[in-house]
Each structure stands twice: as structure tokens, then as C-alpha cells.
Symmetry: C2
Subunit: 297 residues, 2 copies
Amino acid sequence: MIDELLRREREVVEAALARLLPNDAWPERLHRAMAHAVFAGGKRIRPVLARLAHRAAGGDPDAVTEAVCGLELIHTYSLIHDDLPAFDDDVLRRGRPTVHVAFDEATAILAGDALLAEGMLLIARHPQGAAWAARRAAAVELVADAVSARGMVGGQMEDLQATGQVAGVDGPQEERLERIHRAKTGRLLTASVELGAALAGAGDQLAAFSDFGAALGLAFQIADDILDATATARDLGKSPGKDAEAGKLTYVTLYGLDAARTRLDEIEAELAERAAELEGPDGELAALARFVATRRN
Amino acid sequence: MIDELLRREREVVEAALARLLPNDAWPERLHRAMAHAVFAGGKRIRPVLARLAHRAAGGDPDAVTEAVCGLELIHTYSLIHDDLPAFDDDVLRRGRPTVHVAFDEATAILAGDALLAEGMLLIARHPQGAAWAARRAAAVELVADAVSARGMVGGQMEDLQATGQVAGVDGPQEERLERIHRAKTGRLLTASVELGAALAGAGDQLAAFSDFGAALGLAFQIADDILDATATARDLGKSPGKDAEAGKLTYVTLYGLDAARTRLDEIEAELAERAAELEGPDGELAALARFVATRRN
């Protein structure tokens, strides 16, 4: 069921992205770089998550497709900047050259900047119509806060500090890992769930969607840490084992593989419970959560 | 009159920026880098312009101070990224070390990213209250479009291509210069005027504000090009003559100093007329336009 659901959902998102992000506009090089990163076969977890949360909160997901595509553009911006030489210095992403390799560093920085602006624009513009205006403004606020210095970008900063790539103050590693995971991956995933729910006017139920999103973010990141330590390059589309090599602080490098797997199982159980509260038994959010926790790439 | 007006306006903006951008939050290094760039004594032209346009369109500028500070954060992000080694590789900005020199490259990229997100957040959040919601969403849309790949970031891209720093297609230099100026500096200055007017509900008058903003953007950029060719390092707070040295395409390098001055005089006259239409004779926008066209740093 989940494979079919995800396939259909991704088709909707891919078609919307292709419509929303022209790659022949001025300046051509910049738009090619943006398209290179966006159309690289990502899983589209964030927009799909937002659409499913929107349905679980009583809305019609097709009404918010354009808005939730903003999440994918913002996620893509963060990947482009994370891959830069000053950060992880990655040459491959999803089996293809990273943007600064395929183009150059300046173009990659600008492509990231432009995708962040474009993502915000989509969320501010859609769904169109005066009736949606208040929800659109709230949606931008929610997503901008999630990716701000207090959120995703803050997590990228402390992640660099944790590896010693840039100067930073030390502290208990357990707390630091918690902060990095919550901020760097967790905040935008949580915001994806919140965006879907908020655009449906979730009101009092919004906090329950947030909690589900936060747990999902943690599951996603632990699964990612496990994958980096265990998967093959072919599965990942990038070099595995890079975390340990780069001295990255991850669930696996800090607690070991067994403890990471145990923790992931616990969160998977928690996610099933939280999803059942939001959508009843055997719903789409529960299926997506299982997929995230058990994914192999 | 203009000096006193600008002094008062800047005080209001500085106080709001200090309130809105805490520099002791997590992660401390990132917030210090953001503050280093934001509190470097800029002229605050964009938020001041937006406040004055808001008043000219019939609004109370104090109602929009927080929102217009978003413009200054977004402008500051663009300066940080423009100064990076992959771009202009500048070591001084307003007489102080640039962010990547005072901190490091990764921190500078993240500080720019965070300021862009924070700027969008301020515009989505302020002025608060349900009555403003539709205007807030429209404001984010307007500013995001201005800084997108079709606007400011597109201009940065073609500026790099014009100097040969990155690959690009050639074309008539005059058209190229026009595109770069309109996009790189012009769009955010125009959006500043538009933001002020739109938040006042300018409606049909918005196009007239846009035209004034576009002319002001052009005046600003030509004045900048003239200053780079003629000012001393002390006036500029950065090295003068860098444009010619770097092979930059500017009004002065393309048309010469005399032609640039003649063009600036023409636009100054146009600006006075446009301002008179918007606010009557001897208004604040006219004074600000004169200041921009005749500034010495």
C-alpha cells in the first residue's frame, strides 16, 4: 500500500515542481543549476508529508500542492549549501555530481539562495484567494522560523562545530547531538507536518501534528545515521561511511549501531500511536512513518 | 532637512533591529556573525524608504517598522554572500572585516542564509493582527519575487558572468548592464518602496510607487558606480577602484564618468517629478531621492 501511495503522491509533486520551476528563464545558468538539484530524483518526503497531514486534518491535499512544493525547494537549497566545499565537500548527491561540481561554487551558493526565496514565494502565494490569506501568512512564518538560525541553519552551524570544522564551544555530546538532530533535520520535517495541518485550519489539533512531526524527524535522522554506517554506495547514491570518516556526531558514532536500532524501534512504535490519534488506525501518516523508519536509501 | 529626517529614521530602524535580532541566542557563533554584518553602520536605505513610502501612501510608518526591518536583513544577506571568496572576495565592508574574514566561509554562508529566512519571517509576521494578514502574505510574495532567481539573485549571477568569473553567454553589453542593474540592486529597492505602499493598501497607486522605486534603484546604482571610480577608501569604507580592476561591467566602465554623471542628473530630475506626484512638492521621498543621487559614500 505504501509503495503505491508514495508513487502516486510523488507523481503529483513532480508534476507540480516541473510546472513551478521553469528551467529556461533568465539567467539560464542559474535556472539550470536549480533544476539540476531539484530534479535529481529525491523522495519528496516533505511535500508528501505535508499533503498527507493536510488530508488527515480534514483538507483536500490537491489544494495545497503548490504551497508544499515550497518545502521541497527549501530542502533542496539546504542540500546544495551543505554539499559545498566549506561544508561537507561532497561531490555526489543522489548519484549525480553536486551543484558546485557540475557548475561552480558561486553558482551553487546562488542556486541555494534562489531556491530558498522561491520556496518562500510559493508558500506566500498558494493556495490563492483572499480566503486563504491569513493561513498563507501563518504558513510562511512557520516555515521561515523552522529554517532560521533557531532551526535548520542553526543545526547546520552546530553540526560543523561538532566535527571541529569551525570553532565552537564544547558541551555534553548527548545534548549536542539532540540539538543538532532536532534543528538540522527535525525542524523542517516538523514544519512540513505543521504546514499541511495549519493550511487545513487544524487549530487545537496543531500541537498533536507537531509532536508527530518531531518524532518523525528524529526517526528520519536516526535511520539516516544507520544507513550511512551500513548501506552500500549503490543504495545511497553517495559514499557511505562518510560520517565516521569525517568525525561526524551521529546516533551511530555516539551510541553504536545496536543502540541506534533499538531507539529507532521505540520511535517507530511511538509514531504508530501518534498517527492513530491523528487519523485513526492504518492511515497514511502511519504508513509514511513506517516507510521513513525502515527505508534503505 | 534630509540629514535630520534620515537621522531620526535610522534611529527608529536601528532600535527595531537591535530588538528583533538577539545576538546571544543558540548557536552563539551564528548569531554573532549575523550581528557583525547587520550592526556595521549601514545607511538603512531600504527600511527607511519603505517607511517613507508607507507614509506617502497614507499609512503610519511606526506600524510597519518591524516588517521593513526584514528588508535590511535580506539586503545584509546579499552583501555577505557577495563578499565571499567565490564572488567578489572582499575583505572589508564598511571599514570592518567581512563575515568570512572575521569568522569563516561556512559561517558566512549560513549567516546569509539565516538572515534571508529571518527577513522573510519578519515580513510574514508583522504588522500583527488578523486585519493585516492579507497584506502580510502579499508583502512576502512581493519581496520573495524581488530577491528570487528572476530578481536580485539573477542579477548577482549575470554580474559574475559579465566579469568572466563564471561561464556565461555574451550579448550586447548595454543590455546586459541594464539587466544586471535592474535585477541586482534595483529589484530590492523597488520592492522596498512597493512594500511600504502595499502595506498601506496603495491599490491603484502601487504602479506609480513601483516606477519611483525602479528609478531610485537606477540612481542608486549609477551613483555607486561613480563612487567606486572617484571616492577615497576613507569615504567608502572599502577599497575604491575595485570595479575597473575586477573588470566589472558598470555605468562608468561602459560609458565613462561624464556620461554616467549626465545620466544620473536626468534620473534625479525624473525622481523629483515622480516623488511630487506621489506626495506633493518638497516631500520626504523627494529628499531621500536627492540624497541617494548625490551621496558620497
